[in-house]
Assembly symmetry: D2
Homo-oligomer: 144 residues x 4
Protein backbone atom coordinates (compact mmCIF):
# COMPACT_ATOMS: atom_id res chain seq x y z
CA UNK A 1 0.00 0.00 0.00
CA UNK A 2 1.65 3.25 -1.00
CA UNK A 3 1.88 6.44 1.02
CA UNK A 4 -0.93 8.13 -0.86
CA UNK A 5 -3.40 5.30 -0.29
CA UNK A 6 -2.55 5.64 3.41
CA UNK A 7 -3.36 9.36 3.41
CA UNK A 8 -6.99 9.29 2.37
CA UNK A 9 -8.06 11.17 -0.74
CA UNK A 10 -8.94 14.61 -2.06
CA UNK A 11 -12.66 14.58 -2.84
CA UNK A 12 -13.14 17.79 -4.78
CA UNK A 13 -14.89 19.20 -1.71
CA UNK A 14 -11.97 18.62 0.63
CA UNK A 15 -10.50 15.42 2.03
CA UNK A 16 -11.72 12.07 3.31
CA UNK A 17 -9.84 9.58 5.47
CA UNK A 18 -11.22 6.19 6.57
CA UNK A 19 -10.18 4.96 10.00
CA UNK A 20 -11.06 1.89 12.05
CA UNK A 21 -12.28 2.00 15.67
CA UNK A 22 -9.93 -0.15 17.78
CA UNK A 23 -9.93 -1.21 21.46
CA UNK A 24 -7.85 1.88 22.37
CA UNK A 25 -10.56 4.25 21.07
CA UNK A 26 -13.38 2.94 23.25
CA UNK A 27 -14.22 3.42 26.93
CA UNK A 28 -16.14 1.40 29.52
CA UNK A 29 -19.45 2.87 28.31
CA UNK A 30 -18.95 0.78 25.14
CA UNK A 31 -18.65 3.87 22.93
CA UNK A 32 -15.73 5.76 21.42
CA UNK A 33 -14.23 8.07 24.09
CA UNK A 34 -15.06 11.67 23.20
CA UNK A 35 -11.46 12.95 23.12
CA UNK A 36 -10.49 10.26 20.59
CA UNK A 37 -12.53 12.03 17.92
CA UNK A 38 -10.05 14.91 18.17
CA UNK A 39 -7.32 12.43 17.34
CA UNK A 40 -9.30 11.08 14.38
CA UNK A 41 -9.83 14.66 13.18
CA UNK A 42 -6.15 15.51 13.64
CA UNK A 43 -5.24 12.47 11.51
CA UNK A 44 -7.62 13.81 8.85
CA UNK A 45 -6.05 17.28 8.92
CA UNK A 46 -2.52 15.85 8.82
CA UNK A 47 -3.27 13.68 5.81
CA UNK A 48 -5.17 16.46 4.06
CA UNK A 49 -2.19 18.79 4.43
CA UNK A 50 0.14 15.97 3.38
CA UNK A 51 -1.76 15.52 0.10
CA UNK A 52 -1.60 19.30 -0.39
CA UNK A 53 2.20 19.10 0.01
CA UNK A 54 2.69 20.11 3.66
CA UNK A 55 4.64 17.67 5.86
CA UNK A 56 4.92 17.94 9.67
CA UNK A 57 8.43 16.60 9.53
CA UNK A 58 9.75 19.25 7.17
CA UNK A 59 8.11 21.91 9.33
CA UNK A 60 9.74 20.42 12.44
CA UNK A 61 13.15 20.80 10.80
CA UNK A 62 12.37 24.55 10.60
CA UNK A 63 11.26 24.58 14.24
CA UNK A 64 7.61 24.94 13.19
CA UNK A 65 4.51 22.96 14.20
CA UNK A 66 0.78 23.40 13.74
CA UNK A 67 -1.36 23.92 16.83
CA UNK A 68 -5.11 24.02 17.38
CA UNK A 69 -6.24 27.45 18.60
CA UNK A 70 -9.99 26.88 18.89
CA UNK A 71 -12.54 24.10 18.44
CA UNK A 72 -16.31 23.86 18.53
CA UNK A 73 -17.45 20.25 18.58
CA UNK A 74 -20.87 18.64 18.45
CA UNK A 75 -21.02 15.00 19.45
CA UNK A 76 -24.11 13.75 17.64
CA UNK A 77 -23.96 9.98 17.95
CA UNK A 78 -21.85 7.12 19.27
CA UNK A 79 -19.41 4.85 17.46
CA UNK A 80 -18.37 1.34 18.55
CA UNK A 81 -15.50 -1.13 18.29
CA UNK A 82 -14.69 -2.47 14.78
CA UNK A 83 -16.63 0.26 12.95
CA UNK A 84 -15.15 2.19 10.02
CA UNK A 85 -15.39 5.97 10.28
CA UNK A 86 -14.95 8.55 7.53
CA UNK A 87 -13.24 11.77 8.59
CA UNK A 88 -14.16 14.59 6.20
CA UNK A 89 -12.21 17.85 6.26
CA UNK A 90 -12.72 21.09 4.38
CA UNK A 91 -10.74 24.32 4.52
CA UNK A 92 -13.24 27.15 4.94
CA UNK A 93 -10.95 30.11 5.29
CA UNK A 94 -7.22 30.82 5.39
CA UNK A 95 -5.62 34.12 6.27
CA UNK A 96 -1.92 34.84 6.70
CA UNK A 97 -1.66 33.27 10.11
CA UNK A 98 -4.66 31.06 10.75
CA UNK A 99 -6.96 28.66 8.95
CA UNK A 100 -10.49 27.54 9.70
CA UNK A 101 -11.56 23.98 8.85
CA UNK A 102 -14.90 22.21 9.05
CA UNK A 103 -14.63 18.54 9.91
CA UNK A 104 -17.13 15.71 10.17
CA UNK A 105 -16.81 12.17 11.41
CA UNK A 106 -19.33 9.93 9.63
CA UNK A 107 -20.37 6.29 9.98
CA UNK A 108 -21.90 5.58 6.60
CA UNK A 109 -24.37 8.42 6.10
CA UNK A 110 -24.73 9.16 9.85
CA UNK A 111 -22.80 12.19 11.12
CA UNK A 112 -21.29 11.35 14.52
CA UNK A 113 -19.22 14.49 15.11
CA UNK A 114 -19.19 17.95 13.56
CA UNK A 115 -16.47 20.44 14.35
CA UNK A 116 -15.02 23.80 13.46
CA UNK A 117 -11.29 23.96 14.02
CA UNK A 118 -8.97 26.97 13.92
CA UNK A 119 -5.31 26.12 13.43
CA UNK A 120 -2.22 28.32 13.67
CA UNK A 121 1.49 27.78 13.10
CA UNK A 122 3.85 28.01 16.06
CA UNK A 123 7.56 28.69 16.20
CA UNK A 124 8.37 27.59 19.74
CA UNK A 125 5.55 29.15 21.78
CA UNK A 126 4.92 32.04 19.37
CA UNK A 127 2.35 32.06 16.51
CA UNK A 128 3.92 33.03 13.18
CA UNK A 129 2.65 33.74 9.68
CA UNK A 130 2.14 30.73 7.41
CA UNK A 131 5.06 29.96 5.11
CA UNK A 132 4.43 30.41 1.34
CA UNK A 133 4.20 26.61 0.88
CA UNK A 134 1.51 26.36 3.56
CA UNK A 135 -0.35 29.41 2.27
CA UNK A 136 -0.48 28.00 -1.24
CA UNK A 137 -1.53 24.57 -0.01
CA UNK A 138 -4.35 26.04 2.08
CA UNK A 139 -5.44 28.22 -0.85
CA UNK A 140 -5.47 25.18 -3.13
CA UNK A 141 -7.50 23.28 -0.55
CA UNK A 142 -9.96 26.12 -0.11
CA UNK A 143 -10.61 26.49 -3.84
CA UNK A 144 -11.04 22.74 -4.05
CA UNK B 1 -3.64 9.18 50.73
CA UNK B 2 -7.41 8.89 50.96
CA UNK B 3 -9.90 9.00 48.14
CA UNK B 4 -10.92 12.57 48.82
CA UNK B 5 -7.38 13.90 48.65
CA UNK B 6 -7.13 12.15 45.26
CA UNK B 7 -10.30 13.84 43.99
CA UNK B 8 -9.29 17.50 44.15
CA UNK B 9 -11.36 19.87 46.26
CA UNK B 10 -14.54 21.91 46.27
CA UNK B 11 -13.51 25.56 46.21
CA UNK B 12 -16.75 27.39 46.96
CA UNK B 13 -16.80 28.45 43.30
CA UNK B 14 -16.70 24.92 41.93
CA UNK B 15 -13.91 22.35 41.90
CA UNK B 16 -10.15 22.27 41.43
CA UNK B 17 -7.98 19.27 40.57
CA UNK B 18 -4.17 19.39 40.26
CA UNK B 19 -2.62 17.12 37.66
CA UNK B 20 0.95 16.56 36.47
CA UNK B 21 2.03 16.63 32.80
CA UNK B 22 3.71 13.32 31.99
CA UNK B 23 5.50 11.97 28.87
CA UNK B 24 2.19 10.55 27.57
CA UNK B 25 0.59 14.01 27.49
CA UNK B 26 3.15 15.66 25.23
CA UNK B 27 3.79 15.46 21.49
CA UNK B 28 6.84 15.97 19.27
CA UNK B 29 6.25 19.75 19.22
CA UNK B 30 7.34 19.70 22.89
CA UNK B 31 3.92 20.85 24.11
CA UNK B 32 0.91 19.05 25.58
CA UNK B 33 -1.12 17.46 22.74
CA UNK B 34 -4.38 19.37 22.33
CA UNK B 35 -6.72 16.40 22.82
CA UNK B 36 -5.08 15.58 26.17
CA UNK B 37 -6.66 18.69 27.69
CA UNK B 38 -10.04 17.04 27.15
CA UNK B 39 -8.81 14.15 29.25
CA UNK B 40 -7.59 16.51 31.97
CA UNK B 41 -10.98 18.24 31.91
CA UNK B 42 -12.83 14.93 32.03
CA UNK B 43 -10.79 13.97 35.11
CA UNK B 44 -11.84 17.27 36.68
CA UNK B 45 -15.53 16.67 35.91
CA UNK B 46 -15.37 13.08 37.21
CA UNK B 47 -13.78 14.13 40.48
CA UNK B 48 -16.12 17.11 40.88
CA UNK B 49 -19.12 14.80 40.49
CA UNK B 50 -17.49 12.27 42.81
CA UNK B 51 -17.20 14.87 45.57
CA UNK B 52 -20.85 15.80 44.93
CA UNK B 53 -21.79 12.14 45.46
CA UNK B 54 -22.07 10.85 41.88
CA UNK B 55 -19.95 7.80 40.98
CA UNK B 56 -19.47 6.48 37.42
CA UNK B 57 -19.37 2.96 38.72
CA UNK B 58 -22.75 3.09 40.41
CA UNK B 59 -24.20 4.62 37.26
CA UNK B 60 -22.66 1.83 35.16
CA UNK B 61 -24.47 -0.73 37.32
CA UNK B 62 -27.72 0.98 36.24
CA UNK B 63 -26.60 0.93 32.59
CA UNK B 64 -25.99 4.70 32.66
CA UNK B 65 -22.97 6.77 31.63
CA UNK B 66 -22.29 10.46 31.11
CA UNK B 67 -21.41 11.65 27.62
CA UNK B 68 -20.21 14.97 26.26
CA UNK B 69 -22.71 16.52 23.85
CA UNK B 70 -20.95 19.76 22.94
CA UNK B 71 -17.66 21.54 23.63
CA UNK B 72 -16.23 24.93 22.79
CA UNK B 73 -12.53 25.07 23.56
CA UNK B 74 -9.98 27.88 23.40
CA UNK B 75 -6.36 26.80 23.52
CA UNK B 76 -4.62 29.89 24.89
CA UNK B 77 -1.13 28.73 25.75
CA UNK B 78 1.14 25.68 25.84
CA UNK B 79 2.06 23.41 28.75
CA UNK B 80 5.19 21.25 28.98
CA UNK B 81 6.50 18.07 30.58
CA UNK B 82 6.72 18.02 34.42
CA UNK B 83 4.40 21.03 34.90
CA UNK B 84 1.52 21.00 37.37
CA UNK B 85 -1.84 22.09 35.96
CA UNK B 86 -4.95 23.14 37.86
CA UNK B 87 -8.23 22.03 36.27
CA UNK B 88 -11.05 24.30 37.48
CA UNK B 89 -14.67 23.28 36.88
CA UNK B 90 -17.90 25.11 37.55
CA UNK B 91 -21.48 24.03 36.90
CA UNK B 92 -23.22 26.93 35.12
CA UNK B 93 -26.60 25.43 34.42
CA UNK B 94 -28.41 22.16 34.94
CA UNK B 95 -31.78 21.23 33.49
CA UNK B 96 -33.54 17.86 33.68
CA UNK B 97 -31.41 16.24 31.03
CA UNK B 98 -28.26 18.27 30.42
CA UNK B 99 -25.72 20.32 32.32
CA UNK B 100 -23.40 23.09 31.18
CA UNK B 101 -19.97 23.43 32.79
CA UNK B 102 -17.23 26.03 32.41
CA UNK B 103 -13.75 24.62 32.74
CA UNK B 104 -10.28 26.15 32.80
CA UNK B 105 -6.84 24.61 32.76
CA UNK B 106 -4.36 26.91 34.52
CA UNK B 107 -0.59 26.86 35.06
CA UNK B 108 -0.21 29.09 38.07
CA UNK B 109 -2.15 32.22 37.14
CA UNK B 110 -1.88 31.63 33.38
CA UNK B 111 -5.02 30.23 31.70
CA UNK B 112 -3.98 27.62 29.12
CA UNK B 113 -7.39 26.32 28.09
CA UNK B 114 -10.95 27.61 28.54
CA UNK B 115 -13.94 25.47 27.67
CA UNK B 116 -17.70 25.22 27.82
CA UNK B 117 -18.90 21.65 28.05
CA UNK B 118 -22.44 20.29 27.75
CA UNK B 119 -22.93 16.85 29.26
CA UNK B 120 -25.87 14.47 29.06
CA UNK B 121 -26.69 11.09 30.57
CA UNK B 122 -27.01 8.09 28.26
CA UNK B 123 -28.79 4.79 28.75
CA UNK B 124 -27.27 2.72 25.95
CA UNK B 125 -27.36 5.11 22.99
CA UNK B 126 -30.37 7.13 24.22
CA UNK B 127 -30.17 10.34 26.31
CA UNK B 128 -32.30 10.11 29.46
CA UNK B 129 -33.32 12.50 32.24
CA UNK B 130 -30.88 12.88 35.14
CA UNK B 131 -31.60 10.67 38.13
CA UNK B 132 -32.62 12.48 41.37
CA UNK B 133 -29.14 11.90 42.86
CA UNK B 134 -27.46 13.52 39.86
CA UNK B 135 -29.98 16.39 39.76
CA UNK B 136 -29.40 17.18 43.42
CA UNK B 137 -25.64 16.94 43.04
CA UNK B 138 -25.64 19.30 40.05
CA UNK B 139 -27.94 21.69 41.88
CA UNK B 140 -25.64 21.64 44.89
CA UNK B 141 -22.67 22.29 42.61
CA UNK B 142 -24.42 25.14 40.82
CA UNK B 143 -25.36 26.94 44.06
CA UNK B 144 -21.82 26.44 45.26
CA UNK C 1 -11.89 1.59 0.40
CA UNK C 2 -13.47 -1.64 1.58
CA UNK C 3 -13.21 -3.23 4.98
CA UNK C 4 -10.61 -5.74 3.88
CA UNK C 5 -8.24 -3.11 2.51
CA UNK C 6 -8.56 -1.38 5.88
CA UNK C 7 -7.58 -4.54 7.75
CA UNK C 8 -4.12 -5.17 6.38
CA UNK C 9 -3.37 -8.46 4.62
CA UNK C 10 -2.55 -12.08 5.24
CA UNK C 11 1.02 -12.63 4.08
CA UNK C 12 1.39 -16.39 4.10
CA UNK C 13 3.57 -16.02 7.17
CA UNK C 14 0.96 -14.19 9.22
CA UNK C 15 -0.43 -10.67 8.87
CA UNK C 16 0.80 -7.19 8.00
CA UNK C 17 -0.87 -3.86 8.73
CA UNK C 18 0.51 -0.48 7.66
CA UNK C 19 -0.10 2.43 10.02
CA UNK C 20 0.92 6.08 9.97
CA UNK C 21 2.61 7.89 12.90
CA UNK C 22 0.48 10.90 13.82
CA UNK C 23 0.92 13.77 16.34
CA UNK C 24 -0.89 11.71 19.01
CA UNK C 25 1.71 8.92 18.83
CA UNK C 26 4.75 11.08 19.58
CA UNK C 27 6.07 12.60 22.79
CA UNK C 28 8.24 15.63 23.63
CA UNK C 29 11.41 13.59 22.97
CA UNK C 30 10.43 13.70 19.29
CA UNK C 31 9.97 9.92 19.11
CA UNK C 32 6.93 7.63 19.24
CA UNK C 33 5.88 7.16 22.90
CA UNK C 34 6.72 3.60 23.97
CA UNK C 35 3.20 2.62 25.06
CA UNK C 36 1.80 3.59 21.64
CA UNK C 37 3.53 0.59 20.09
CA UNK C 38 1.23 -1.61 22.16
CA UNK C 39 -1.69 0.13 20.50
CA UNK C 40 -0.17 -0.37 17.04
CA UNK C 41 0.34 -4.05 17.88
CA UNK C 42 -3.20 -4.39 19.21
CA UNK C 43 -4.51 -2.92 15.93
CA UNK C 44 -2.47 -5.55 14.10
CA UNK C 45 -3.86 -8.39 16.22
CA UNK C 46 -7.42 -7.12 15.84
CA UNK C 47 -7.16 -6.92 12.08
CA UNK C 48 -5.40 -10.27 11.83
CA UNK C 49 -8.22 -11.92 13.78
CA UNK C 50 -10.77 -10.01 11.71
CA UNK C 51 -9.35 -11.46 8.48
CA UNK C 52 -9.43 -14.90 10.11
CA UNK C 53 -13.14 -14.37 10.84
CA UNK C 54 -13.11 -13.26 14.49
CA UNK C 55 -14.84 -9.95 15.28
CA UNK C 56 -14.61 -8.14 18.64
CA UNK C 57 -18.15 -6.95 18.26
CA UNK C 58 -19.66 -10.39 17.89
CA UNK C 59 -17.65 -11.54 20.90
CA UNK C 60 -18.91 -8.56 22.91
CA UNK C 61 -22.48 -9.65 22.20
CA UNK C 62 -21.60 -12.95 23.90
CA UNK C 63 -20.02 -11.09 26.83
CA UNK C 64 -16.52 -12.07 25.68
CA UNK C 65 -13.40 -10.00 25.06
CA UNK C 66 -9.74 -10.76 24.42
CA UNK C 67 -7.20 -9.62 26.99
CA UNK C 68 -3.42 -9.56 27.01
CA UNK C 69 -1.97 -11.85 29.69
CA UNK C 70 1.75 -11.36 29.14
CA UNK C 71 4.10 -9.33 26.95
CA UNK C 72 7.84 -9.22 26.40
CA UNK C 73 8.82 -6.19 24.36
CA UNK C 74 12.14 -5.02 22.95
CA UNK C 75 12.26 -1.42 21.83
CA UNK C 76 15.06 -1.45 19.24
CA UNK C 77 14.80 1.91 17.51
CA UNK C 78 12.77 5.11 17.37
CA UNK C 79 10.02 6.15 14.95
CA UNK C 80 9.00 9.73 14.15
CA UNK C 81 6.02 11.79 12.98
CA UNK C 82 4.70 11.09 9.45
CA UNK C 83 6.49 7.74 9.11
CA UNK C 84 4.71 4.59 7.89
CA UNK C 85 5.13 1.53 10.08
CA UNK C 86 4.43 -2.10 9.23
CA UNK C 87 3.01 -4.19 12.06
CA UNK C 88 3.72 -7.88 11.43
CA UNK C 89 1.91 -10.53 13.48
CA UNK C 90 2.30 -14.28 13.57
CA UNK C 91 0.48 -16.88 15.67
CA UNK C 92 3.12 -19.14 17.19
CA UNK C 93 1.01 -21.37 19.37
CA UNK C 94 -2.64 -21.77 20.32
CA UNK C 95 -3.99 -24.02 23.02
CA UNK C 96 -7.57 -24.28 24.27
CA UNK C 97 -7.42 -21.11 26.32
CA UNK C 98 -4.44 -19.03 25.27
CA UNK C 99 -2.51 -18.03 22.19
CA UNK C 100 1.05 -16.82 21.76
CA UNK C 101 1.85 -14.32 19.00
CA UNK C 102 5.12 -12.84 17.77
CA UNK C 103 4.83 -9.27 16.58
CA UNK C 104 7.23 -6.82 14.96
CA UNK C 105 6.94 -3.16 14.15
CA UNK C 106 9.11 -2.30 11.14
CA UNK C 107 10.05 0.91 9.33
CA UNK C 108 11.10 -0.36 5.94
CA UNK C 109 13.58 -3.12 6.71
CA UNK C 110 14.46 -1.76 10.19
CA UNK C 111 12.84 -3.57 13.12
CA UNK C 112 11.76 -0.98 15.73
CA UNK C 113 9.91 -3.23 18.16
CA UNK C 114 9.80 -6.98 18.70
CA UNK C 115 7.30 -8.58 21.05
CA UNK C 116 5.88 -11.83 22.30
CA UNK C 117 2.26 -11.53 23.34
CA UNK C 118 0.08 -14.04 25.17
CA UNK C 119 -3.65 -13.46 24.81
CA UNK C 120 -6.59 -15.05 26.58
CA UNK C 121 -10.35 -14.78 26.31
CA UNK C 122 -12.30 -13.29 29.22
CA UNK C 123 -15.94 -13.65 30.17
CA UNK C 124 -16.32 -10.82 32.66
CA UNK C 125 -13.21 -11.15 34.81
CA UNK C 126 -12.79 -14.90 34.27
CA UNK C 127 -10.60 -16.53 31.56
CA UNK C 128 -12.55 -19.06 29.49
CA UNK C 129 -11.73 -21.59 26.78
CA UNK C 130 -11.65 -20.27 23.22
CA UNK C 131 -14.88 -20.73 21.27
CA UNK C 132 -14.73 -23.12 18.28
CA UNK C 133 -14.70 -20.17 15.85
CA UNK C 134 -11.70 -18.63 17.58
CA UNK C 135 -9.90 -21.97 17.89
CA UNK C 136 -10.31 -22.65 14.19
CA UNK C 137 -9.24 -19.14 13.26
CA UNK C 138 -6.11 -19.39 15.40
CA UNK C 139 -5.33 -22.82 13.98
CA UNK C 140 -5.73 -21.47 10.44
CA UNK C 141 -3.45 -18.56 11.32
CA UNK C 142 -0.84 -20.83 12.87
CA UNK C 143 -0.71 -23.13 9.83
CA UNK C 144 -0.48 -20.09 7.60
CA UNK D 1 -1.11 20.69 47.12
CA UNK D 2 2.62 21.03 46.64
CA UNK D 3 4.79 19.39 44.04
CA UNK D 4 6.03 16.70 46.39
CA UNK D 5 2.55 15.56 47.43
CA UNK D 6 1.80 15.26 43.71
CA UNK D 7 4.82 13.03 43.13
CA UNK D 8 4.01 10.08 45.36
CA UNK D 9 6.43 9.10 48.11
CA UNK D 10 9.65 7.28 48.79
CA UNK D 11 8.77 4.18 50.81
CA UNK D 12 12.13 2.91 51.99
CA UNK D 13 11.76 0.07 49.50
CA UNK D 14 11.34 2.33 46.47
CA UNK D 15 8.47 4.60 45.46
CA UNK D 16 4.68 4.56 45.51
CA UNK D 17 2.30 6.71 43.48
CA UNK D 18 -1.50 6.59 43.78
CA UNK D 19 -3.47 7.18 40.60
CA UNK D 20 -7.18 7.14 39.77
CA UNK D 21 -8.74 5.18 36.90
CA UNK D 22 -10.65 7.61 34.67
CA UNK D 23 -12.87 7.17 31.59
CA UNK D 24 -9.82 7.55 29.31
CA UNK D 25 -8.11 4.51 30.87
CA UNK D 26 -10.89 2.01 30.20
CA UNK D 27 -12.03 0.23 27.06
CA UNK D 28 -15.32 -1.29 25.85
CA UNK D 29 -14.59 -4.51 27.76
CA UNK D 30 -15.18 -2.49 30.95
CA UNK D 31 -11.59 -2.94 32.13
CA UNK D 32 -8.49 -0.76 32.00
CA UNK D 33 -6.92 -0.98 28.52
CA UNK D 34 -3.66 -2.96 28.76
CA UNK D 35 -1.40 -0.26 27.27
CA UNK D 36 -2.60 2.27 29.87
CA UNK D 37 -0.73 0.39 32.57
CA UNK D 38 2.49 1.36 30.79
CA UNK D 39 1.44 4.98 31.18
CA UNK D 40 0.67 4.46 34.87
CA UNK D 41 4.09 2.84 35.30
CA UNK D 42 5.81 5.65 33.38
CA UNK D 43 4.15 8.18 35.73
CA UNK D 44 5.53 6.19 38.64
CA UNK D 45 9.06 6.14 37.21
CA UNK D 46 8.93 9.87 36.40
CA UNK D 47 7.83 10.78 39.91
CA UNK D 48 10.32 8.41 41.49
CA UNK D 49 13.16 10.01 39.55
CA UNK D 50 11.74 13.46 40.36
CA UNK D 51 11.93 12.74 44.10
CA UNK D 52 15.49 11.47 43.58
CA UNK D 53 16.34 14.81 41.95
CA UNK D 54 16.10 13.99 38.23
CA UNK D 55 13.76 16.17 36.12
CA UNK D 56 12.76 15.40 32.52
CA UNK D 57 12.70 19.08 31.74
CA UNK D 58 16.28 19.74 32.77
CA UNK D 59 17.35 16.70 30.76
CA UNK D 60 15.44 18.00 27.73
CA UNK D 61 17.42 21.24 27.92
CA UNK D 62 20.55 19.11 27.51
CA UNK D 63 18.97 17.24 24.58
CA UNK D 64 18.53 14.12 26.71
CA UNK D 65 15.49 11.94 27.37
CA UNK D 66 14.89 8.57 28.98
CA UNK D 67 13.61 5.74 26.82
CA UNK D 68 12.36 2.26 27.60
CA UNK D 69 14.59 -0.42 26.09
CA UNK D 70 12.84 -3.59 27.29
CA UNK D 71 9.75 -4.60 29.25
CA UNK D 72 8.36 -7.86 30.53
CA UNK D 73 4.80 -7.43 31.75
CA UNK D 74 2.36 -9.78 33.44
CA UNK D 75 -1.26 -8.68 33.45
CA UNK D 76 -2.68 -10.49 36.47
CA UNK D 77 -6.07 -8.92 37.03
CA UNK D 78 -8.43 -6.22 35.78
CA UNK D 79 -9.05 -2.70 37.11
CA UNK D 80 -12.20 -0.64 36.59
CA UNK D 81 -13.41 2.96 36.40
CA UNK D 82 -13.13 5.05 39.62
CA UNK D 83 -10.65 2.67 41.29
CA UNK D 84 -7.47 3.89 42.98
CA UNK D 85 -4.29 2.11 41.94
CA UNK D 86 -0.90 2.11 43.65
CA UNK D 87 2.10 2.08 41.32
CA UNK D 88 5.15 0.70 43.16
CA UNK D 89 8.61 1.09 41.64
CA UNK D 90 11.96 -0.21 42.75
CA UNK D 91 15.39 0.21 41.17
CA UNK D 92 16.99 -3.24 41.00
CA UNK D 93 20.19 -2.48 39.18
CA UNK D 94 21.91 0.51 37.62
CA UNK D 95 25.01 0.40 35.47
CA UNK D 96 26.66 3.26 33.60
CA UNK D 97 24.14 3.31 30.79
CA UNK D 98 21.03 1.38 31.79
CA UNK D 99 18.84 0.75 34.79
CA UNK D 100 16.51 -2.10 35.61
CA UNK D 101 13.32 -1.41 37.62
CA UNK D 102 10.67 -3.70 39.04
CA UNK D 103 7.20 -2.20 39.03
CA UNK D 104 3.83 -3.32 40.34
CA UNK D 105 0.36 -1.92 39.94
CA UNK D 106 -1.77 -2.82 42.96
CA UNK D 107 -5.44 -2.36 43.88
CA UNK D 108 -5.34 -2.63 47.65
CA UNK D 109 -3.43 -5.84 48.28
CA UNK D 110 -4.19 -7.34 44.86
CA UNK D 111 -1.36 -7.17 42.29
CA UNK D 112 -2.83 -6.30 38.88
CA UNK D 113 0.36 -5.86 36.88
CA UNK D 114 3.98 -6.85 37.45
CA UNK D 115 6.74 -5.63 35.20
CA UNK D 116 10.48 -5.48 34.69
CA UNK D 117 11.57 -2.38 32.84
CA UNK D 118 14.98 -1.53 31.40
CA UNK D 119 15.54 2.17 30.75
CA UNK D 120 18.33 3.96 28.94
CA UNK D 121 19.20 7.58 28.29
CA UNK D 122 19.09 8.88 24.71
CA UNK D 123 20.78 11.88 23.13
CA UNK D 124 18.84 12.19 19.90
CA UNK D 125 18.63 8.60 18.67
CA UNK D 126 21.83 7.45 20.39
CA UNK D 127 22.04 5.82 23.86
CA UNK D 128 24.56 7.62 26.11
CA UNK D 129 26.05 7.03 29.55
CA UNK D 130 24.02 8.34 32.49
CA UNK D 131 25.04 11.79 33.74
CA UNK D 132 26.56 11.92 37.27
CA UNK D 133 23.29 13.37 38.66
CA UNK D 134 21.30 10.46 37.25
CA UNK D 135 23.87 7.88 38.36
CA UNK D 136 23.83 9.18 41.91
CA UNK D 137 20.03 9.34 41.97
CA UNK D 138 19.73 5.75 40.73
CA UNK D 139 22.34 4.61 43.23
CA UNK D 140 20.45 6.35 46.05
CA UNK D 141 17.24 4.71 44.86
CA UNK D 142 18.84 1.28 44.65
CA UNK D 143 20.26 1.46 48.19
CA UNK D 144 16.89 2.68 49.40
Amino acid sequence: MNGDAMSGRLTGAGHELIQRVYFEDTDYSGRVYHARYLQFMERGRSDYLRLLGVHHRELAELGLAFAVRRMTIDFLGPASIDELLAIRSRIVEATGARALLRQKVMRGEAPLVEAEVTIVLLSGRRPVRFTPVIREALEAGRRD
